[in-house]
């Protein structure tokens, strides 16, 4: 018998094959169709934005952790996910230095300052975008028609821009080259409209989301409640609920941002309330706020509630309600 060479540890002694790296890789795979479609729509500038954002994210995480003499764990691919998500929610014409700055901010300030992987209270990609919108409002709200050269002469408005400016659904339809409502819905679903690089193709985003749901990477609760909430509150405020769900960043946000592990609740009840709240804030900003789109702030604001929503745990197995103490006066 080998002496003193046996491993001793507390059980269990076997582990599932799922690792953080594999989960992150699944998210990247799920985002690939929409990313490729973004490059198809807007050409090389979109590719430049994506590559810059991913590279800046990964390098800034590695650099920052090296500076702090911490273990470098870019191998878990979480920085790639953040970089990719950030690229997908900004316009294709964003200057690359702004992209890099946004990515560095997302990783260093929103993630690493709070302790890195799993410890960030706010979604890093959304924080990056929020900072960029505040710092470079013009560049971050310059939109381009799909399949057209990225040049100042070809700037246009997104469907939500048009609605914000008080235009009607038929104006929106005209902007995406549709003449009838079904044609409008179809064009919005496949995503041939102006917008952020990766937000427009609802079909490809749903395909990626389906992959993540089937692989058990994300739970259905938050996205369903968030999109349902956007549809419901839009309808109450007199906006076409379907257009509200498929015309902006709602689908991308609901399936890929509101399901972020670290910054959203873990309990089912918490997830449901998170989704409803994020949807409500999104609709309120769209209708009454200063921006045409509110998904970013809808999710970021609910991120702040996550620690509290985590207190809404399901009752444990065999939970017995403590007997109510007899009332004082009843004696």
């Amino acid at each position: 018998m080998p002496a003193n060479s046996l491993l001793l540890s507390s059980s269990p002694h076997i582990y599932s094959g799922v690792t953080t790296r594999r989960l992150m890789l699944s998210v990247i795979i799920a985002l690939l169709p929409a990313s490729v479609f973004g490059v198809v729509l807007y050409g090389l500038p979109a590719l430049g934005v994506i590559l810059t954002s991913v590279a800046a994210s990964v390098l800034s995480e590695a650099g920052f952790r090296a500076l702090l003499k911490r273990d470098i764990r870019i191998g878990d691919l979480s920085a790639v996910v953040t970089g990719l998500l950030l690229a997908l929610i900004i316009p294709p014409s964003t200057p690359l230095w702004m992209v890099a700055l946004g990515a560095v901010f997302a990783i260093v300030v929103a993630k690493e300052f709070f302790g890195g992987l799993g410890a960030n209270p706010f979604n890093p990609a959304l924080v990056g975008r929020a900072i960029m919108i505040m710092s470079f409002p013009a560049a971050l709200t310059t939109w381009h028609s799909p399949f057209a050269p990225i040049a100042d002469a070809y700037t246009t408005a997104t469907p939500l821009n048009l609605l914000k400016m008080g235009q009607s659904l038929s104006d929106v339809a005209a902007s995406v080259g549709a003449s009838t409502p079904p044609e409008l819905y179809w064009n919005l679903l496949i995503g041939t409209r102006a917008g952020s690089i990766g937000e427009s193709s609802v079909i490809l985003l749903l395909a990626g989301a389906a992959f993540l749901l089937i692989m058990g990477v994300i739970a259905w609760v938050t996205p369903v409640f968030m999109l349902g909430s956007i549809a419901l509150f839009s309808w109450i405020l007199g906006v076409n609920p379907l257009v509200a769900v498929i015309s902006g960043g709602a689908v991308l946000g609901a399936f890929f941002m509101a399901t972020d592990y670290a910054s959203t609740p873990m309990t089912p009840k918490g997830k449901a309330i998170f989704g409803i709240g994020a949807g409500l804030v999104t609709v309120l900003i769209r209708q009454f706020g200063g921006f045409p789109e509110g998904v970013t702030y809808g999710i970021l604001i609910m991120n702040a509630f996550s620690p509290f929503l985590n207190k809404l745990r399901v009752p444990k197995y065999g939970f017995v309600k403590p007997a109510k103490p007899a009332k004082e006066g009843s004696r």
Binding site: L6, L7, S10, M266, F319
Partner: protein, 448 residues
């Protein structure tokens, strides 16, 4: 048909294929036995023999007064050589009686007792005197479960044949080879408790045994008894007592309570066979079956050996081990069994398996930060939010840990198994439970 099950859990690789078809081999002659004195869940008992004494197979060699105690018997006839602390499968040292065989094979069994004509007290006494404990893992005295207080009526006896731990196949083999004894054991418990309904619950990976058991049940049908077999989904920890009860009856054992609180008595298949042996053959619990397997085990087997047989004494005549690749030895299954520092430990009443894990199987990992993916929360069959519990314990907040329910943790290890960051969740909860119990004890002392 949708198979019954509980909420949560996981499906670890089963790895039972190497032994599930192998008939049980009986090892009768060993060069010594190291019989731990305390093999039950309860207060310690004392040796009744001293060094130099001659003992017969089946003779009682340790006992004590007290409801929660269970005696221990000599597994072989021989001479007591030593009584000294030895390594036990739970990885601690405890007093053990070391007996070397004298070759006479003399037997001192109890008289045969007809379970269907004896009184309830006689039956309970027999089960205790036979030294029977729960053989699935915890070693809880069997007779205690069978004597519930009058305000806790029992309406069903459950045979735990789930065998949800990966690798282990001994219960499966007992069902296949000794179905009559399993059914007899169940019938004896039903008679003793005055209950008519018995359910044998097994996982879907043992569905092929349903006809075998059905035959045995039909053959041994007794007036007023209704024994049935229910196939459950193959999912860990289906064989956890509480989970099995919930899967079969839909009821949940209340927090801090016992199966009897929901009218259930659960006994493992091996325990039922031991009960049948005790009544029908007068044989106390002096041998048990277990599965010996793992990547570094060249000859995986299902064995029955005298209690106290050192695993190291089985090597190399009965079992061959690939010492080059041996990385970890586990007494029990890979999900809950303790790792031991050497395989010179005795098989005791609750040892259901021995795993020789090779280097690939026994890989260990660095803990990574929690990414809050919530997998542990979905897997926890006790619905305890392991990630939040882990946070509370890391912060040293025992009150928060108690509020989440750390004391309800059954330590099945599913959370640690599914964690993508390889966080030592259940391991930390074990420590948390101890700290919390110690703290409560201290507070109770101070209050006095």
């Amino acid at each position: 048909m949708d198979k019954k099950t509980f909420r949560g859990g996981a499906h670890p690789p089963e790895r039972k294929e190497r032994t599930s078809e192998l008939p049980i081999e009986y090892v009768r002659s060993v060069k010594q036995v190291v019989v731990p004195v305390n093999q039950h869940f309860g207060p310690p008992i004392q040796p009744l023999v001293k060094v130099g004494d001659s003992v017969k197979r089946g003779q009682k060699i340790a006992d004590a007064e007290g409801r929660m105690t269970v005696p221990v018997h000599a597994p072989i006839s021989g001479i007591v050589k030593k009584i000294e602390p030895r390594l036990q499968p739970n990885n601690a040292e405890g007093p053990a009686i070391i007996i070397e065989p004298d070759g006479t094979g003399e037997v001192d069994f109890m008289p045969i007792l007809d379970p269907f004509s004896c009184t309830k007290d006689q039956a309970l006494t027999r089960i205790r005197e036979a030294g029977i404990v729960g053989m699935g893992g915890a070693g809880f005295p069997a007779h205690v479960k069978l004597a519930p207080p009058p305000n806790k009526p029992i309406d069903v006896v459950i045979a735990n044949a789930a065998e949800c731990e990966p690798y282990l196949t001994i219960d499966e083999r007992l069902l296949a080879e000794r179905p009559g004894d399993v059914v007899d054991g169940m019938a004896i418990l039903l008679k003793t408790l005055g209950v008519s309904k018995g359910v044998i619950g097994l996982e879907a990976n043992k569905e092929h045994l349903v006809p075998v058991l059905g035959e045995a049940i039909a053959e041994r049908r007794r007036e007023g008894q209704d024994i049935s077999v229910v196939v459950l989904e193959t999912k860990y920890p289906q064989g956890g007592e509480k989970m099995l009860i919930t899967a079969l009856t839909g009821k949940e054992v209340p927090s801090g309570g016992l199966p009897m609180d929901v009218g259930c008595v659960v006994q493992n298949v091996g325990t039922l066979v031991a009960v049948a042996d005790a009544f029908l053959r007068g044989q106390p619990l002096i041998e048990r079956g277990f599965t010996i397997t793992g990547g570094a085990c060249k000859t995986p087997k299902n064995l029955v050996v005298p209690i106290g047989t050192l695993v190291s004494d089985l090597v190399p005549d009965t079992v061959q081990v690939d010492d080059e690749n041996l990385a970890r030895v586990v007494a029990g299954g890979p999900m809950m069994g303790p790792a031991v520092p050497s395989y010179a430990f005795p098989i005791q009443k609750n040892t259901s398996g021995v795993l020789f894990m090779d280097k690939a199987e026994a890989r260990y990992f660095q803990e990574q930060p929690c990414i809050r993916c919530g997998r542990c929360m979905r897997a926890c069959s006790c619905r305890l939010s392991p990630a939040l519990l882990n946070e509370a314990l890391n912060a040293g907040d025992l009150e928060a840990a108690e509020a989440i329910g750390v004391l309800d943790c059954i330590e099945c290890g599913t959370c640690s198994f599914v964690c993508p960051s390889r966080i030592q969740l259940v391991q930390r909860f074990r420590i948390g439970k101890q700290l919390l119990r110690a703290k409560k004890q201290k507070e109770a002392q101070r209050a006095r």
